[in-house]
């Protein structure tokens, strides 16, 4: 929403002109109103604003609110009003909100619902977060086998208001087993007397409710689908995942991957609203772990204390060399991790990726060896230049290999490849860097010059 719209709404709210407020709200998108409420959240203000909207808009706005604000509002609302709101929400959002209410409120709501609604809600709320079942909706359109196009269209018209989309209609038998799908496009271009069975598509892409939601999202994105049906192991139709939910899932998963690649754990409900303690918790474990992991680098440097004392000039190049290994490794790891996540790179591609990275890293290593050689020219003699240039080449090579291989290795052991985060790769590359640098230095310098 533009800042102007925000400010305009703030003005209208402050003026207290109820009619103007109603008109303004009716003309606004639900996502924008929800953003306004989220940004200026205060329970009673939010409830007063909601009362100025139609029932449908109330439900839509409520569905867009941040989870903790939904929870706050639900707690302060009269049960009757909450039940009304519930009825107008889409079935997947309803299940999400239901799952976060306390038991007392859940019971009170249940008592106000019809049996079919209740069963539907319990079914949807029973799936663990992250699974297809938790993002699917039961607001799909379905028609029985054998009806004509005319009948199908008539039924769709009748049921349209309760459905999330009618652009895909699922064709089912008496047991609700999925037999095919027909798009509204095909329905309106077919002849009214055609039988559904003859125009429906039988090869339907489906997902199951206990699949990871990210998999469903990738299928929807890959095949450009508006929605995908969810069927259980007996091919019974249990729900549908729509493209807009898939977009949200992809965004959420990408956020998790990016955070993980900087050793930040999962933050439920978004970073902006997270409490300092939540953020602390999501970051502290890896940070402390990495402190301990760096003991190896420390021990490596300490081991070469005598060499360092004899050749003080080596210290100058230490950060340049160590950082380069880490940076090259982080580049390689990021390319592979993202490639695996988008399905561009397969698990079996590692030999090809490794071969290509070897080529690239030799070229990078040579370029960087020349760079550090040029820098070295102003700081040290030819023997030190030889040591740092050679070390740079080796460190870049080793850093790259760690960066390419670590994601595949983690994947092999069932870990998320994104755990091969830049900091982890950097830490491992650092230790190797220290050993390579001082190893090469001891070998070359101790033979050519006797330390004084």
């Amino acid at each position: 929403m533009t800042i102007e719209t925000q400010e305009y709404l703030i003005d209208i709210v402050e003026q207290g002109n109820e009619k103007a407020l109603r008109t303004t709200l009716a003309s606004m998108a639900s996502a924008d109103i929800a953003e306004y409420i989220d940004e200026n959240f205060e329970v009673y203000g939010a409830m007063a604003l909601m009362e100025k909207m139609s029932a449908e808009q109330q439900a839509a706005v409520f569905g867009y609110l941040r989870p903790n604000n939904q929870q706050e509002l639900a707690r302060h609302m009269e049960v009757g009003m909450l039940a009304k709101l519930f009825r107008d929400m889409s079935s997947d959002e309803r299940a999400d909100v239901y799952a976060m209410l306390n038991v007392k409120l859940q019971d009170a709501l249940m008592r106000r619902m019809a049996k079919t609604e209740r069963d539907d809600l319990l079914m949807l709320a029973s799936y663990e977060e992250g699974l297809v079942g938790s993002v699917m909706t039961s607001g799909y359109a379905s028609i029985p086998l054998g009806v004509t196009v005319e009948t199908a269209l008539y039924r769709l018209r009748q049921s349209a208001p309760e459905k999330e989309t009618i652009y895909q209609t699922y064709v089912v038998d008496k047991e609700h087993k999925l037999h095919g799908v027909v798009s509204l496009r095909d329905l309106i271009t077919a002849s009214p007397d055609d039988i559904i069975d003859d125009i429906m598509v039988r090869d339907v892409l489906t997902v199951s409710p206990d699949m990871p939601q990210s998999e469903a999202a990738r299928i929807i994105s890959r095949y450009d689908l508006i929605a995908i049906p969810v069927i259980d192991k007996d091919r019974l139709l249990v729900g549908m995942v729509t493209f807009d939910d898939a977009m949200d899932v992809v965004e959420e998963e990408d956020t998790d991957t990016m955070h993980r690649s900087a050793t930040v754990g999962k933050i439920e409900g978004g970073f902006k609203d997270a409490s300092p303690f939540t953020i602390y918790r999501s970051r502290v474990n890896w940070l402390v772990l990495l402190v301990f992991a760096n003991i190896f680098s420390g021990a490596g440097i300490a081991h070469f204390e005598e060499t360092i004392k004899a050749y003080g000039a080596l210290l100058f190049f230490l950060p340049l060399l160590i950082a380069s290994g880490g940076n090259t490794g982080a580049q390689a790891a990021t390319l592979i991790v993202r490639g695996i996540a988008t399905g561009d790179v397969f698990k079996s591609d590692w030999p090809r990726m490794l071969a290509k990275e070897l080529l690239v890293s030799v070229a990078l290593g040579v370029t960087m060896a020349i760079s550090i050689g040029v820098i070295g020219y102003w700081r040290a003699g030819p023997d030190i230049i030889l040591v740092v240039a050679l070390s740079m080449l080796c460190i870049v090579l080793v850093g790259s290999l760690i960066g390419v291989l670590l994601p595949f290795v983690l994947n092999r052991f069932g870990w998320d490849p994104a755990t091969a985060s830049s900091p982890l790769v950097t830490t491992i590359a650092d230790t190797s860097g220290v050993l390579i640098y001082f190893g090469i230095a001891s070998a070359i310098l101790d033979f050519s010059v006797v330390p004084g």
Copy 2:
């Protein structure tokens, strides 16, 4: 696609049973066939396979192929066949393919096209990559103001085969100015005699062709749209961006952001197919730049050579401290960069984010100071422990602040916040870390003990 499907297709192709091949291809999704061709790419094999498909499927499969394979095929195809393929492709894909052909082929194709098609193609191909104009399609459905629902439905039925979607229809006047939008859902639930003007939505969300494509994608995702109309400055309707293109844009942008956050430049056409030279070029600049940036760390360490020689134990803790500043900074920067990219964090939020990060980083700093203190207990005396614990606290604090502020600062100067990549933050944090560590060490140790 499952590995089974892949292998099955390979079998069928090898058997050379043409009828079986045709049936198999007809039953497969275009995206899957394209993947098969991409994975086993060979020009003549691909052309032979394409010949076994219907014209529509050929166009769809071609549209899914990787850009370099499209180019390769187009170069080897007869112009007549390419022109036929062109006619069946969606207008945005057609423009993409056209843009990468050589001038001779472009001319040959142009001569085989009707004037309106030609104008359309030239218009779409004229937009720079990354702008809305380059992803929009002219395959939208439109109807004039004033028609009845019945007429609208009749027209949609007639034109459906050429349209990318008919679920959104744009209502235009004689000059093709956009006045409203009507969904197919609303059309089929309305009465046939209703006039479009009365049922259309007038408050239409629109984008302009020279907006960044990522902005259009974020609007589509935020408002859960199937498509968004593109209008020029005179409100003339020039195209439409569909949800599936938006998904591709989001994925591509996220890939770019992730790459940039590890100092990898933009790689056109995907990482997997990129030549080693392309990958080298996308990585070398930042790496070399960072080598030079690390000179400051090196100079810092060199400056404190005497302190280090007097207190060799300090060396052991060097990597632990330096890495911690970089890691904390990378965490903070990643959270902010992703927050800005998804619209969760606004540019004006920086004071709030800074305040929260201060709280979090004090807590993280204390935890890590205790960790390094415990490690120090086994390696050094109380004075050194005091130095390293105090340094850790300061380094973590400074690292976090750099991580939070850098993205906002870059954004302020019109740079992409993702340029505040982990390696850049790490490099800056490293230099500060060296100065803080040895600064504190000199201050505390040189006063308490006289180096021997």
